[in-house]
C-alpha cells in the first residue's frame, strides 16, 4: 500500500457566505516526495497550507498528514511536522532562547546539537527579543526550528521570502539533505527555477481549484514549443491537438506551444507537411505562464501610454 505524506480529499474552504477559497481539492503527496505547489497570487496556496497546519478549518472535506487526520486536536499530530509560514508570528516580547526552550519541550525529537550548530552557522542572536530581530532573522529562526525538530514532513509556504540568496540556498540545501534522509517536503513557491531543481512532483492550483498534479519530469518531457511554417495558413487540425496551450503567429511562422503529448503531436504536425519545422525547449516558467494564460489568467495590457 502506498503511504501518503499528505492526503487531501474533497477539501473546500468558503470564507464568509460565498467567497470560495478552495474548491473540492484532491491531492496526494507520496512519502519521501519533494512536492511543489504552484499557482498565481490568491490561488489558495496559503489557505491550503494553513488548513493542513490546523490554523484554519476546512468548510468541508478531509486531510491527513502522515496518515493522521488533521481534525484530531491532539498535539501528537504535528510533533514531527515542521512548518515555516510566509510571515513569522513569534511572540514579540519573547527572547529567542525562550522560544527555543519552549520548542525543546514541545517536540520530542528536538535535536539540541543540531539547533546549536544552526544558530551559530546562521548568526542568530539568542539573547535578543523577537521584536529586535529583522524579518530575515525571524525567518532564519523559523527554519532553524523546522530543522531541529528532526521532521518527517516539512511544510514550507514560500520558503525563500525574506531571505537573501546565500542564506536561502543554504537552507534549501539542508532541506534536500532532509529529503534524502526520507523526510517529505511540501512547499509553495513562485520561484520556478528553485522548484525545478527541488521538486519531483508538482501541482498547480488556480482560483481555489486544482488544475493538475503530475511528475515534473513527465510534464517537461511532454512539453515543447514547435515552430512551423505553413505557407497556406495554419491548418485547422492544429487547434485540436491534445495538450495544446497556445499558438502564436509571427508572419508565416507559427509557434505551437504544447503542454502535453509532445511525441504524438510532433508526428501529427509532421503529417501536415510544414515547409519548415523546429522544436524548441520550453522552460518551466514559460510553461507555467502559458498554462495560466490558457486558463484565462493573463493580465496582458497594451503598451502603457
Amino acid at each position: 500500500m502506498q503511504n501518503w505524506a499528505i492526503e487531501i480529499q474533497n477539501l473546500s474552504k468558503i470564507f464568509g457566505r460565498k467567497k470560495v477559497a478552495l474548491d473540492d481539492i484532491d491531492l496526494a503527496v507520496p512519502e519521501g516526495s519533494v512536492f511543489g505547489l504552484m499557482g498565481p497570487n490568491g490561488a489558495g496556496k496559503s489557505t491550503l497550507i494553513k488548513i493542513l497546519m490546523g490554523i484554519i478549518f476546512p468548510s468541508s472535506g478531509t486531510a491527513a498528514l502522515l496518515g493522521r487526520d488533521i481534525s484530531n486536536p491532539s498535539g501528537e499530530l504535528r510533533q514531527d511536522i515542521a512548518y515555516v509560514p510566509e510571515v513569522q508570528n513569534f511572540y514579540p516580547s519573547f527572547y529567542v532562547e525562550d522560544i527555543l526552550g519552549y520548542c525543546q519541550r514541545v517536540y520530542p525529537n528536538w535535536d539540541k546539537k543540531r539547533c546549536k550548530t544552526l544558530l551559530k552557522a546562521f548568526d542568530l542572536p539568542i539573547e535578543d527579543r523577537v521584536r529586535e530581530l529583522s524579518k530575515g532573522m525571524k525567518t532564519r529562526l523559523a527554519h532553524i526550528i523546522a530543522l531541529s525538530i528532526r521532521p518527517r514532513l516539512v511544510i514550507l509556504d514560500e520558503p525563500g521570502s525574506g531571505l537573501d540568496a546565500v542564506i536561502k540556498q543554504e537552507f534549501m540545501r539542508l532541506y534536500m539533505q532532509e529529503a534524502a534522509s526520507g523526510a517529505g517536503i511540501f512547499f509553495s513557491t513562485h520561484n520556478l527555477h528553485e522548484l525545478e531543481r527541488m521538486a519531483d512532483q508538482v501541482a498547480v492550483i488556480m482560483k481555489g481549484k486544482l488544475l493538475f498534479q503530475r511528475s515534473l519530469d513527465e510534464w517537461k518531457a511532454n512539453s515543447r514549443k514547435i515552430q512551423a511554417i505553413f505557407p497556406e495558413g495554419l491548418p485547422e487540425e492544429i487547434k485540436d491537438l491534445p495538450g495544446l496551450l497556445r499558438v502564436e503567429t509571427q508572419g508565416k511562422v507559427y509557434s505551437i506551444v504544447l503542454g502535453d503529448h509532445f511525441t504524438e503531436n510532433l508526428e501529427r504536425i509532421k503529417a501536415l507537411k510544414p515547409q519548415y519545422m523546429d522544436t524548441l525547449d520550453i522552460s518551466l516558467e514559460d510553461l507555467f505562464v502559458y498554462t495560466m494564460k490558457k486558463e484565462g489568467y493573463s493580465h496582458e495590457i497594451a503598451l502603457l501610454e
Binding site: G32, M176, M198, M277, D281
Partner: protein, 131 residues
C-alpha cells in the same frame, strides 16, 4: 563540478545528470574506480531533489557506467565490452538517423553535415588525448 544542470532545458534533470556523468567518463574527467558522492551528499551539494539523483544513479548503474558496492559507496565502473560490434553499430546508426531527421528540417545539406560530423569527431579525439 563534473556536471551542471540547466533548468531551462526540457531535458529532465535526472537525464542531464546521467548524460553529464557519461560525458565526464567518456572524456576521462572521471576515471575508473573513482568514488562518486552519495545521493545525500550530492543532493545537498547541488540543491537537487535526492529522488532525481537516485534515479540518475539507478540509470547509470543499469547502463554499467557506475557500480555500487554495499557499505562502501558508488564508483565509476570499469569499461566492459558488453555488446558485440554489430549491436554497437546498430545503436549508433539509429542515433545518427535521428540526427538526419533534424538535419532535414534544419535544411542542412549532405556536404555541410558530413563536414560538421568530421570536425566534431576530430575535435573530440583531440580533446580526449589532451586530458
Amino acid at each position: 563540478m563534473w556536471f551542471d544542470v540547466d533548468p531551462r532545458s526540457s531535458v529532465a534533470i535526472y537525464r542531464q545528470l546521467v548524460d553529464g556523468v557519461k560525458e565526464a567518463v567518456a572524456r576521462g574527467i572521471l576515471e575508473t574506480g573513482e568514488k562518486l558522492p552519495s545521493v545525500r551528499e550530492l543532493a545537498a551539494q547541488v540543491t537537487i531533489n535526492p529522488n532525481t539523483i537516485a534515479k540518475a544513479y539507478q540509470e547509470l548503474e543499469r547502463e554499467g557506467i557506475i557500480e555500487t558496492l554495499r557499505g562502501r559507496g558508488t564508483f565509476v565502473a570499469a569499461h566492459k565490452p558488453q555488446k558485440n560490434l554489430e549491436e554497437k553499430e546498430k545503436a549508433i546508426k539509429s542515433m545518427l538517423e535521428k540526427i538526419m531527421v533534424e538535419a532535414y528540417y534544419l535544411q542542412l545539406d549532405e556536404k555541410t553535415l558530413l563536414a560538421l560530423m568530421e570536425k566534431t569527431v576530430q575535435n573530440w579525439y583531440r580533446n580526449r588525448e589532451g586530458v
